[in-house]
Amino acid sequence: MGNTNHEGAMAIKAVNPKATTVAEIFGIPDERFAELKRASMDIVNDDTKKTAKDYLEAITALAETKEELAVILYISSAARATATKLMKMLTGAFGG
């Protein structure tokens, strides 16, 4: 317990290590990835998914594998945070 220096049960492997896109590296077909990305952006833009819990639940429901879960969550949470930060900048939160 407490030792996290070993490979966890959720460890994902690169199936195409030489591929150039994250999706291909983890074996997610292009069409599926595009579909996941579109759906995840809808969630990011959904005003009713304001809390991290709502957002995580919604994104997770899109995923069918742990690989999809990891990739789409990483990418969409980065997009979500960037959008939030940008909005704050543009609306003057940075102004002071």
């Binding site: 959720m10 994902i12 994104i59 594998t65 879960l69 969409s76 945070a81």
Partner: protein, 138 residues
């Protein structure tokens, strides 16, 4: 008659342990001390590479459950984005996407310090204030 189990992939779902909590770790039943321990490792992962795939692989190595996988990916994605310059992203990732920001500061602000506020204010997180997020807590 023998039944053959079909193993069609079922959608992943997360188990919510503490629905009332505003702390994303607690919501999904990840103990605070484990979160703190992991935050240090997420920090070194972000520090070690800019390669998204490498990062995702290493994050997944740390996860024992799908809830951990989801929360760790979420926090790292957020942490990296918060540390980057959104204007650079808006204008097409100038200079190859390099920013002057420090992903470590963001990770430390958003995970280590507040112990993962649900979605703390990024400016406050960077400055060490770490308060609730106005967007999440409306």
């Amino acid at each position: 008659m023998e039944t053959t189990a079909t193993t069609a992939p079922s959608p992943v779902s997360l188990t919510i342990v503490n629905p009332e909590s505003t702390n994303v770790l607690e919501v999904f039943g990840i103990p605070k001390d484990k979160g703190d321990e992991i935050s240090a490792q997420l920090t070194s992962i972000v520090e070690a590479t800019n390669d998204k795939s490498e990062m995702i692989k290493k994050i997944s190595d740390l996860a024992q459950t799908k809830e951990e996988l989801a929360v760790f990916c979420f926090l790292t994605g957020e942490g990296v984005a918060r540390a980057s310059n959104p204007l650079a992203a808006l204008f097409g990732g100038m200079s190859g996407g390099n920013t002057n920001s420090n992903p470590l500061a963001s990770l430390l602000g958003s995970i280590g310090k507040g112990g993962s506020q649900d979605n703390d204010d990024d400016m406050n997180a960077l400055l060490g204030g770490g308060s609730d997020d106005d967007l999440d807590q409306e």
